[in-house]
Amino acid sequence: MSAQRLARRIADDVFEYRVETPQDAQALASQLRALDLAEDVVAGLDTVSVRCDPEYLTAVEAALATFEPDAAGFQLESETIELSIQYGGEFGPDLKAVCDQTGLSESAFIAVHTERTHTVEMIGFTPGFSYISGLPDGFAVPRLSQPRSRVPVGSVGVSSDFTGVYALAGPGGWPLIGRIQDLLFDPESASPFRLSPGHRVKFKAV
């Protein structure tokens, strides 16, 4: 694992590490969480933030200064999960714009998206929202300049070279290409989250 040696302060109550990959971020975050010092430890795609009560700031700072991450002791999920997706139309109102940006026809885009095996890199944003890598290198889809105030549950968006699935209805800034029917977050279930970091994902057009 490659991580910055020291975290920097990004708020009065938040420290942040920079790392190379989403896997590094997950590994570092899970080890920091195990220290049980902070209010929250949250992984980004190339960052890990540690938020603490200012009362324990000195203790947290001291612990972080001597903390040595260990990449070996961390195992991600590896199961493959298939998600059925309806592309374009009312389900993916930005599919055409995304295709224009990437220079692909809609059918070519769908072929690329369904043929590849994707990987869940991170859960974040809202409950169960999944950041899924696997689009070809060089994909560079920007976010919407003005986020939508309401995106339906199951909406699938792309941003940069990630696919993102909205597990809840709510505001969202990713251009939308389609929608899945499966629930990714069910608080009433014994295992509320369908996807976890490391899961492989295959999209199936329906």
Partner: protein
């Protein structure tokens, strides 16, 4: 039993924030104005984060069929107890069969109604606070409506009549000055815009929810290609999307975001976000993280002198 007669624009049950689940995408929730909720709980002998009603923009009415002790703090319109004016920031000993009415406030956005021993609410992921987007906690995970019946966790008496000390009562006048630090992507602002961040007066836009508050009037443009990798955000983070309109995040803030994080509101002043309404004026006062912590500790000492003191 405590029956809702009119719920106003949005009334939810809020208690402690849902800490420790952000890595699963689960926001904190909890009160938008944690200070006002703590003050309300104090007046009815509760712990600071016992479950309360958070009432948005007044227009609230309820009836109780049992005697109870309640207190109302936060954004104040007129309070009527069975038709007679009643004070905010004071323990109210409510007789059985009373009707309580809270009229809309001129300034500020949210009032907090605490009841002795706290409202009963569903705890999910470790907290009772309502998180509407995922229907977690509170009363069936939703905003309250007319006809809903709430119960309290235990019956007991409050003997004293407490009043919040004058010096601790927040006043709302539609103008906010919030201490703030720079954050992870502040460096993407050029010198002129960095200066503007801490000298402009922003106007709260139409988007002023429990999730975020847009700060309009002086667009800021971080040098970003829109391809930033999603990174953790928290209540207090100020993000800046390409529209140039910064968004200050609060209690229901998403857990990660892909817009540059240009500032962070200091922990000591975050409670004020919960009282902003469209059209209000907001200034950010620059602090280093170290200064902000000292000011937070000072404020805690001042508040704890009251919140921790029980007869």
């Amino acid at each position: 039993m405590f029956q809702i007669v009119a719920a106003g624009l949005q009334t939810t049950l809020q208690g402690a924030p849902r800490l420790g689940y952000r890595h699963l995408g689960i926001p904190y929730a909890g009160p938008a104005d944690a200070l006002s909720m703590a003050l309300a709980n104090r007046l009815v002998d509760n712990s600071t984060d016992a479950t309360c009603l958070e009432i948005t923009y007044g227009g609230f009415e309820a009836e109780t069929d049992t005697a109870c002790a309640i207190a109302i703090t936060g954004a104040g319109g007129e309070v009527l107890l069975s038709g007679a004016p009643a004070p905010m920031h004071e323990t109210l000993h409510v007789p059985a069969g009373a009707r309580l009415k809270l009229k809309p406030a001129r300034y500020g956005a949210r009032a907090y109604l605490a009841i002795h021993s706290g409202f009963r609410a569903r705890a999910q992921f470790g907290a009772t606070s309502t998180y509407l987007p995922a229907q977690l906690g509170g009363h069936e995970g939703r905003a309250l409506r007319a006809g809903d019946v709430l119960s309290v966790t235990a019956q007991a008496q409050v003997r004293q009549t407490w009043q919040t000390p004058d010096a601790l009562r927040p006043l709302f006048d539609g103008k906010f000055a919030l201490r703030a630090t720079i954050s992870a992507e502040t460096e993407l602002l050029d010198d002129v815009m960095r200066e503007a961040l801490f000298s402009n007066t922003f106007i709260v836009g139409r988007q002023a929810t429990r999730m975020g508050i847009s700060l309009e009037g002086h667009p800021l443009f971080p040098a970003s290609d829109g391809m930033m990798k999603s990174a953790p955000v928290f209540p207090g983070t100020i993000q800046c999307p390409p529209s140039g309109i910064p968004i200050a995040l609060l209690c229901d803030a998403q857990t990660t975001g892909g817009y540059p994080r240009i500032a962070s509101i200091a922990r000591c002043d975050r409670h004020q976000l919960g009282q902003m309404r469209p059209g209000d004026q907001v200034r950010l006062l620059h602090r280093t993280p170290e200064q902000a912590v000292i000011e937070y500790e000072r404020k805690q000492v001042l508040l704890n002198g009251w919140l921790d003191r029980r007869a």
